[in-house]
């Protein structure tokens, strides 16, 4: 299926999903759906640099928080319309990805991974000390009273925005995956030295991948302040984002755009249940255990199982 067709179809599905949600009156649905959509974007974004290119980013929370805090900053400064804030957060996070990539992607993937981990800690410290956006005390964001498009509640708008962003992330991921850029990234992932010697401009492609990945992760965070109405650093930099954006693609399957989607929907839903019935600490433990279990026993994830099953069927008895 060509990417243009896929994009059109996906957009139609998005519209349908948004329209259908008008009939849902249960508030919990929007809360759960918002979180799962957030994870779909994060997991898909992470996978562009992680699964496609082979570079692990441990600091997803940093990029997510950058998106969120750009919104907070703009809210305090000028209160532009939501799409502007989304675009701004995406661009800033993308620049951060480019910058970190430029500093660390010339070295082994290990150093990039460590740098992202350290980055999250440093940015957290920075935001904690930045009073303009609330610092440790946090910031209050008031949802506008007048909801555009005649939607009943503001959370419906946020939900719609998230659906559209999720679709955008999936379309971008699929476009990259199926293009010649995607093949170049896969070559880098499989053997970077061989890729260089086959003519692949590895540094340029890695920077591209890091920028797009960072930008989309930031995009996931841009509506967060409006959703919660109150943002403080430990919420934006929550470890759950870091571990989930790795666990979901890993469990779903890292070589295709479908993997992170499957992982996010499955794992996200499980977490919603556990969080409500047990506790958030147990929830994180389960995610951690699943991560380790899958990476040791089923490294190709659920998509890997599906592929293997299809392969066996094709070969016949």
């Amino acid at each position: 299926m060509r990417n243009r067709t896929f994009a059109a179809l996906a957009f139609l599905v998005a519209i349908a999903v948004i329209a259908a949600s008008r009939f849902v009156s249960n508030d919990y649905f929007f809360s759960a759906a918002y979180t799962v959509l957030q994870f779909i974007i994060l997991a898909t974004a992470w996978n562009i640099l992680g699964g496609y290119t082979g570079y692990v980013n441990f600091g997803s929370a940093a990029f997510f928080a950058v998106g969120a805090y750009t919104t907070v900053f703009l809210y305090k400064a000028a209160q532009p319309p939501l799409p502007v804030m989304i675009a701004a957060g995406t661009v800033v996070a993308g620049l951060l990805g480019l910058m970190v990539g430029y500093l660390t992607l010339r070295m082994r993937g290990v150093f990039f991974a460590i740098a992202t981990l350290a980055l999250a800690v440093v940015l957290y410290t920075f935001v904690l000390n930045w009073d303009y956006v609330g610092g440790a005390r946090g910031a209050y964001i008031l949802q506008p009273r007048l909801v555009p498009f005649g939607l009943p509640r503001y959370v419906h708008l946020l939900y719609a925005a998230m659906v559209l962003m999720a679709v955008l992330a999936l379309v971008v991921a699929r476009a990259i995956e199926t293009s010649f850029i995607g093949r170049g990234l896969a070559a880098i992932r499989d053997d970077e030295v061989a890729a260089e010697c086959a003519g692949v401009p590895t540094l340029r492609l890695k920077l591209f991948s890091a920028t797009v990945s960072g930008a989309l992760m930031g995009m996931a965070g841009t509506t967060f302040p409006y959703y919660l109405s109150y943002v403080e650093p430990s919420a934006a930099f929550n470890l759950s984002y870091a571990v989930n954006s790795i666990a979901m693609p890993l469990i779903g399957g890292m070589t295709s755009w479908l993997g992170p989607l499957i992982g996010a929907v499955l794992l996200g839903s499980v977490q919603q249940v556990v969080q409500v019935t047990v506790s958030s600490a147990w929830n994180l433990l389960i995610v951690g255990v699943l991560l380790v279990a899958f990476v040791t026993l089923a490294p190709n994830g659920i998509m890997g199982w599906i592929d293997a099953w299809r392969h066996r069927r094709r070969r016949g008895p």
Partner: protein, 291 residues
């Protein structure tokens, strides 16, 4: 304006004492990452685990935490053996070290932290020792024992590790295994056993370092992540796989943090290690004493 001599001297002393401790924290990574090429980013979590183990014994039985950690180091050693075996079977053998190995250790880091939260909660834990509140004074300079005692233990441990690696047969096998596994095999030494042993040693040092940590400052499960930048900064700065380099790098880092803390405030400390790590990677990735 009068030169703040006392302030500077104290910053230097605090920095050096802290640096010694950082060396103990990082020597494990110097071995596992610098020599064995295993990216054990869960190392700081094991340090925190060591802190809590020492805390538990101190809380229940009033035993000195550092003594506890040394007595219990064989346990940490055994745990390291087990962990390496799993890592080797699932990743190194299959040639999947890079991405999957990283994710594996990240998962372990995460699980360790969450389990500690479940068992101990998120409150800070502190340990009281006989010397915690004593401070020696040499003129204008203060030597708080809660920094000085861990410093002495830390440096002793690092020196012992270095002596072991450079003087004993098995120790030198560890130094050799990174460079030439085939030669080791031809000498009748199984490289896997050597790597296993070295990794276990690195975890044992983590256990002791944890006890030192909780003597120096209060501990809570999330602190581990703050140390990741630090340990890798020290390891890269000092030159991967060089123990003396680790000591030197740690002292430098300790001084940098101490000065930053004294003149700019303590909350900027994590930024210092990150900045040094980036600078080291950008300008001299082989480190100060590296090969």
């Amino acid at each position: 304006m009068e030169f703040p001599t006392a302030l500077v001297l104290n910053a230097i002393v605090a920095g050096l004492l802290l640096g010694g401790f950082y060396a103990a924290v990082s020597v494990g990574i110097s071995i596992s990452f610098g020599m064995l090429d295993v990216v054990n980013i869960a190392h700081p979590a094991f340090i925190i685990l060591g802190s809590y183990v020492a805390y538990s014994f101190n809380d229940r039985m009033g035993v000195d935490p550092i003594v506890v950690s040394i007595v219990l180091s064989p346990l940490f050693f055994a745990f390291g053996l087990l962990l390496y075996r799993i890592y080797y079977q699932c990743f190194e053998k299959r040639g999947q070290e890079s991405l999957r190995g990283l994710a594996f250790f990240f998962g372990i880091l995460f699980i360790t932290e969450v389990v500690l939260v479940l068992v101990f909660g998120v409150d800070y834990r502190l340990v009281g020792t006989a010397y915690s509140s004593t401070t020696l004074h040499l003129g204008a300079v203060d030597f708080p024992l809660r920094l000085a005692v861990p410093f002495v233990v830390a440096v002793t441990m690092v020196v012992c590790v270095q002596l072991y690696l450079s003087r004993t047969f098995f120790g030198r096998a560890v130094l050799a295994v990174a460079q030439d596994q085939l030669a080791l095999r031809l000498m009748g030494v199984n490289p896997i056993r050597v790597k296993e042993f070295a990794f276990a040693l690195s975890i044992a040092t983590a256990g002791v370092a944890g006890a030192l940590l909780i003597v120096i400052q209060p501990v809570q499960p999330a602190i581990g992540r703050e140390y990741i930048g630090l340990v890798f900064a020290v390891c890269v700065l000092g030159g991967m796989g060089s123990i003396w380099g680790t000591l030197l790098g740690a002292l430098i880092l300790g001084l940098a943090e101490s000065f930053t803390s004294t003149f700019f405030g303590p909350s900027w400390a994590p930024a210092v290690s990150f900045g040094i790590l980036l600078a080291a990677l950008a300008f001299k990735p082989s480190g100060l004493l590296g090969r």
